[in-house]
Symmetry: C2
Subunit: 216 residues, 2 copies
């Protein structure tokens, strides 16, 4: 196991992440990465199709970490609010040292043609996994049946929006994002409760209509 090839790949990735953290994503050149990793420039491109591929690799690593940490956290409480916050907060922590990488990701993310977009085909597996964490957080919670199936994906979208806000947030420790996260979450939870009231029937209908249309 652990072929030499695989080791080289890891070395390049590790080196790049270290440099990104130290000097920033834009300020780090692929030449830097390669030479610091002790290979020729071309080698970096043998293992990673492009500079942004390194970002994707980083993103995949955060997913690994989530797979390790989240099950425990979700098991620790049945309270939906806490569970969801655990998921979102983990993302914040993971990106805290790599804000610029998130920029790069979102940049790519807006481009429908770019293979590495978090909304694109190539990242489908990891996206579905991320969405699935919200599904697990919801386990045991009763939600209106008609919107239930859409809820995990909606929460994922909500998380993306928050990440974008987080990126712009210059308050120390991104306090403001923290507040916004909790406030919007409280709102969501309240709406879920209210959504079960009979009065809300017509609203739910409209919501479901929107969701049907947007469904991929």
């Amino acid at each position: 196991m652990a072929k030499k090839s695989e080791e080289t790949r890891e070395r390049i990735l590790d080196t790049s992440l270290a440099l990104f953290r130290e000097r920033g994503f834009d300020a780090t050149t692929m030449r830097d990465v390669a030479s610091e990793a002790g290979v020729a420039t071309g080698a970096a491109y043998y293992y990673f199709r492009a500079k942004e591929d390194l970002v994707l690799a980083f993103y995949l690593r955060t997913a690994d970490e989530a797979r390790e940490l989240l099950p425990e956290q979700l098991a620790a409480t049945k309270e939906l609010r806490k569970r969801i916050l655990a998921i979102v907060n983990l993302k914040y922590e993971q990106f805290a040292e790599h804000r610029e990488l998130l920029t790069a990701m979102l940049k790519v993310g807006t481009d429908p043609r770019h293979p590495l977009s978090p909304f694109g085909k190539e990242t489908k597996a990891i996206r579905e996994e991320s969405i699935d964490w919200f599904a697990r957080a919801l386990e045991g919670t009763s939600v209106p049946k008609d919107i239930g199936p859409y809820l995990p994906r909606l929460l994922w979208l909500w998380q993306m929006a928050l990440l974008m806000y987080w990126l712009w947030d210059e308050t120390p420790g991104q306090r403001r994002t923290q507040k916004l996260t909790e406030a919007t979450l409280d709102l969501i939870l309240q709406l879920l409760k209210l959504g079960s009231l009979p009065l809300m029937g017509p609203v739910r209908k409209r919501v479901v209509k929107v969701l049907r249309i947007a469904e991929e």
Copy 2:
């Protein structure tokens, strides 16, 4: 008036937009633009700080056009739904021939450091103007007092999200986005109506709390 300098600037911009439309934004090089406009490469950079500056210039032109067209459209009806649709649909039309430019804009838009971000400082004037169209559309409509002041900005945000969706939408004529636009708008309008009910007090409180936090 109409100094030669200004003419050159216009010529470069026109040329670039023509090329962008024909060959696409990425496929068009600054050298292409310059030579097609009959100037040296450097000249393009004398008038536009960067390739994306051309996109900003295009965006400013759409704002000019809006200033010409929208007053009439808004005056034509008092119906809020129609007014808002007029604003949003105009944007779709304006970008229809330049989908890739929108990509470039949104790309830049996610980067807090980039001067040309539609959320950034440099574009504040035009952003506020865009927001103001929604404010005008709302004139004469009664909305809950506490969220009223936030509503134009919220609608602008809603429009940005729709534009992003529009960008990804491959259905002919972006039909799906059209449907989504109307369905979400109907939902918004219904929520506004319901929001005035006393029962909704607590919800409105929460919404306002969110808005206060997010306020720039």
